[in-house]
């Protein structure tokens, strides 16, 4: 067993884990943060995307020990108080989800896209940047709309962005 210490959604966490434990297993099974999902075993679907030190990573392809001394943010950690993060609100408003299973990974990727590409990110860029996230329900039409709207809304909510 190996000891890992990290910050998850603002909370300090220390645990002994089997060295082969994946970050997604650690989040789901040790911390019971089940919002982060597993949809494949080849790092293709992106249902497991979380932020590691502010950058999107696939937590199915990251060992928990690699996150030692790091800051991890999951879907459970992006809303402030009772308010949805602007990207969460945009997915709801624009019907960017159906079954909801890919949604946490989509939202975490979308925030990362905005962080890297800016608030005025266009449709083609969004489509290209979502290459690591699969959705089987929506045909992406409304996801793309939601990401564009969420990107705009994040410009109006700088505090929330900073908090993340």
């Amino acid at each position: 067993m190996t000891t890992v210490s990290l910050t998850v959604n603002g909370q300090s966490v220390t645990a002994d884990v089997d060295p082969r434990t994946l970050l997604v297993q650690f989040l789901r099974e040790n911390l019971r943060l089940t919002g982060t999902h597993v949809g494949c075993d080849t790092s293709q679907c992106g249902a497991c995307v979380v932020h590691l030190n502010g950058q999107a990573v696939k937590s199915c392809t990251t060992l928990a020990v690699q996150a030692n001394a790091s800051v991890v943010t999951t879907i459970e950690g992006i809303s402030q108080g009772g308010d949805l993060h602007p990207m969460q609100a945009a997915f709801r408003e624009h019907h960017g989800l159906q079954c909801g299973y890919c949604t946490p990974g989509m939202i975490m990727s979308a925030i990362d896209i905005v962080n890297r590409k800016g608030n005025a990110v266009d449709e083609q860029t969004i489509r290209a940047e979502l290459e690591g996230n699969l959705c089987r329900c929506t045909g992406y039409h409304n996801i793309v709309k939601a990401v564009a709207a969420g990107a705009q809304a994040m410009a109006q909510a700088p505090l929330q962005q900073a908090a993340e």
């Binding site: 293709q44 679907c45 459970e76 969460q88 159906q98 299973y101 449709e123 089987r136 992406y140």
Partner: protein, 787 residues
């Protein structure tokens, strides 16, 4: 229309939990003392099992138990079933081979279940599975659909030539006579490629047994938990029906693949009692590719006869349908009664004859996948219609229009009675949205840039609202296909609706609440939708075949009518008027011609306190249930137009425009309906351009991960132009036709018709990958090279 009533684009109630990571899917459930199951699967497509030595594995760390097919047989656990009996032309019943949950003596496809390891952790279970020694006698495999009956390999003893059934529908003699007098006959050979459904949530199951009460609980990724309970109890015999609770909580997409009752959930429930621990299994994606029921896989030859006026006079079709190694839960119905009855499309075709040979192969079972039979039928009809128009030198849109059915009801030669529709209206609207009149100009612009541009139509129809129980019973279904609902009004006037439908992305918590809001005049926030738990909902047939609106909501509407009728009786007592004078309008019970009225919630309270009437006159309480059995299928229909640009140097097909005009009857929530259309189109485009499940000749699935099986990604798809026309469905009280499968049905022929239009020849199969399109484009170029 109120802000939350029928027709309003209400934002979804369920989304709060989904966007915050609070959804509860099966794998999110962890039961106290839970152990983990891992299935050892066959690495061979076809092999006899000489022996299984579990000894070395049993003593590995964390192993609790290892079971094989012998253990299930000892406990008299039955095999998995196929619930739809198909009879061959000669009247003989289909040849159903045994389908044990864990193999008994033989494995028949790669991924077939050989043994299960139950261990403290999943990692330990996997480690131990590697230590099980199975002595296989590897046999040759049959994988090719078209060759299955000619192979020397026999998948099941019951079927010497691998034939499951030789079935037919329609009128052979009239069809042959029409072909004999035809002016023109168009022929086509088609392969409808095998697909893997791939909902992003893999299947999962947690079985639990309570020794104190003798109750079993199964958490499972199911589209129809009551059907799962019925099959697990009455047929497989895992537990008595009244002792088995099946919970299908949030389910992450189904597309058909979660209708079926599989080996894994069967074993989890049974094993939970054996090991006295809750047993959890979650599929990984590799297992899902191997063992989720696949879809499609038809090989078809079809011919269309036209007369001297360009009218279609007959259609004949021969299809070989690959059903895989075993008959899955509803597999036999898919290439038969969900397929051939749709072969009339939107067209007035006087004579149709279809033969379908169902065959076994050493591949994963094939069953319903979004559209289930109807995409296959639509692909045949729309490819043939397009090709016929081209051969006759007619405009494909106008050729379709000339042959549209215009009088309703219309009885087809393949047992359907279309109730209503206006196909030309959808075509006109689609042509306008697609800017068809300027297509030629766009094509010339593409040519100037060295590109090929094509346009493809798909005038699809589907049969949804599945289905009238008596009708499907006469066709071989083992169950009725009605739906149930219970509307419980609380004393405070809030409402709980218990429905037998199940939502796995469709947004029932919102749309069903909209119906209640509309009918009872209360806010949707006052309505809770309860589904997916057999301990709460008495019975239900579940969600598939675009049935939850047309059938499930009709049951709710029927129960609401009863609630209003009871409410009027209560109001009559409270308002001291005769029942006949009570009106219910805008959420208030009032006395006609007076200003005396009470809100719905006030009457609900009166129903429960029961102070104003005697229990002899009127029962207290306000709760009503209903079973709704549809009187006919519903017939959503529409026109999709796909416009592509092909780069002949790379073979890359880019979808430049997608126009969808659909007639779904009355729409409850246009936002959700459009979302269903988008998702369906994406799956149809996936089939046409990207997806294909391929086995090599030894029966190894060579497309068994998301690295190898090309799922549509955001960059592969355009934004869609979606329009609607409305002819209300006369066959149910809400006028709903259903929308869940339309896109997946309409899209494949639209794409292939566009590509073949661009290429100038018909020789392209699905998936039309860049490599395939590049090769086909070279063929188009050859005459030019010769010039």
């Amino acid at each position: 229309m109120t802000a939350t009533g029928i027709g309003a684009p209400v934002r979804r109630k369920e989304d709060q939990r989904f966007v915050t990571g609070q959804g509860r899917y099966v794998d999110d459930f962890n039961r106290p003392g839970q152990a983990h199951a891992y299935f050892l699967r066959s690495p061979h497509a076809h092999a006899a099992i000489r022996s299984i030595d579990t000894g070395p594995a049993t003593i590995m760390p964390g192993v609790i138990a290892i079971f094989t097919g012998d253990d299930l047989a000892t406990d008299k656990i039955g095999g998995l079933i196929c619930g739809w009996m198909i009879h061959s032309k000669d009247g003989s019943p289909m040849k159903a081979g045994p389908h044990p949950a864990l193999a008994q003596g033989k494995v028949r496809y790669v991924g077939d279940h050989v043994a299960v390891v139950i261990a403290e952790t999943l990692a330990q279970a996997k480690d131990a599975a590697e230590a099980i020694v199975v002595d296989y006698d590897v046999l040759p495999a049959v994988v090719d659909t078209a060759q299955a009956t000619k192979a020397s390999v026999q998948v099941h003893d019951v079927s010497p030539d691998n034939t499951v059934f030789n079935w037919h529908l329609g009128n052979k003699d009239e069809t042959e006579a029409a072909f004999a007098r035809a002016k023109h006959v168009t022929k086509i050979d088609l392969v409808n490629n095998r697909l893997v459904p791939n909902p992003i949530e893999p299947r999962a199951a947690v079985g639990e047994y309570d020794f104190g009460t003798d109750n079993y609980t199964l958490y499972t990724t199911s589209q129809n938990p009551h059907v799962a309970r019925l099959v697990l109890s009455a047929f497989i015999g895992v537990a008595p029906e009244h002792k088995l609770r099946v919970i299908a909580p949030d389910v992450g997409g189904g597309f058909g693949s979660k209708i079926f009752i599989y080996a894994e959930e069967t074993v989890c429930v049974w094993a939970a009692k054996k090991v006295k621990r809750p047993v959890k299994w979650t599929s990984d994606r590799s297992e899902a590719f191997l063992s989720d029921a696949h879809g499609r896989d038809h090989v078809t030859h079809a011919e269309m006869a036209t007369d001297e006026n360009g009218k279609i006079i007959a259609l004949r079709v021969h299809t070989t349908a690959n059903l895989g190694a075993y008959l899955s839960t509803f597999s036999s119905s898919v290439p038969t009664y969900l397929y051939a009855p749709l072969l009339s499309g939107q067209y007035d075709i006087p004579a149709i004859y279809c033969e379908v040979d169902g065959v076994y192969t050493n591949t994963a079972p094939v069953d319903a996948y979004r559209g289930a039979g109807r995409p296959e039928a639509t692909f045949v009809v729309e490819r043939l219609v397009e090709k016929t128009a081209r051969e006759l030198g007619q405009n494909p849109a106008e050729f379709r229009r000339k042959n549209y059915i215009t009088q309703f009801p219309h009885v087809t030669p393949v047992i359907m009675t279309y109730d209503t529709g206006d196909y030309a209206a959808s075509l006109d609207k689609a042509l306008e949205i697609a800017d068809y009149k300027n297509f030629e100009q766009r094509k010339q612009e593409s040519v100037r840039r060295g590109k090929l541009r094509g346009i493809g139509f798909s005038s699809y129809i589907e049969a949804c609202g599945i289905a009238p129980s008596q009708a499907v019973g006469s066709l071989g279904a083992g169950v009725g296909l009605w739906e149930s609902a219970e509307v419980r009004v609380n004393p405070t006037g809030s409402v709980e609706v218990l429905t037998g439908s199940h939502s796995h992305g469709q947004g029932h918590e919102t749309t069903f609440a909209q119906l209640v809001s509309d009918r009872l005049g209360i806010s949707i926030d006052q309505v809770s939708i309860v589904h997916g738990d057999t301990d709460k909902v008495q019975f239900g047939m579940g969600t598939y075949g675009s049935r939850s609106g047309a059938v499930g909501m009709s049951a709710i509407a029927k129960a609401i009518d009863k609630v209003i009728a009871k409410g009027k009786k209560v109001a009559a007592h409270v308002l001291e008027a005769s029942e006949g004078d009570i009106e219910f309008k805008d959420g208030r019970f009032g006395v006609a011609g007076t200003d005396r009225s009470m809100a719905f919630g006030e009457i609900a309270l009166q129903a429960y306190i029961a102070h104003k009437f005697s229990g002899q006159d009127l029962e207290p309480g306000l709760k009503e249930g209903a079973f709704y059995d549809p009187t006919n299928f519903t017939f959503p229909a529409g026109v999709h137009i796909c416009e592509v640009e092909i780069d002949p140097d790379t073979g890359v097909t880019k979808i430049e425009r997608w126009t969808a005009v659909d007639d779904f009857g009355v729409i409850i929530n246009p936002m959700i309906v459009e979302g269903q259309v988008h998702g369906g189109i994406a799956q149809g485009v996936g089939q046409a351009l990207l997806e294909g499940a391929f086995y090599d000749e030894s029966g190894q699935l060579i497309t068994a991960s998301f690295n190898d099986y090309c799922m549509p990604r955001a960059i592969d798809l355009p934004s869609f132009q979606v329009g609607m026309t409305v002819t209300p469905c006369p066959s149910n009280p809400l006028g709903i036709k259903g929308c869940g499968e339309a896109g997946a049905i309409a899209a494949p022929p639209a794409v292939i018709n566009a590509i073949t239009d661009a290429l100038g020849h018909e020789d392209i199969a699905m998936p039309a990958t860049p490599q395939a399109v590049w090769r086909a484009a070279q063929k188009s170029r050859m005459p030019m090279a010769a010039e």
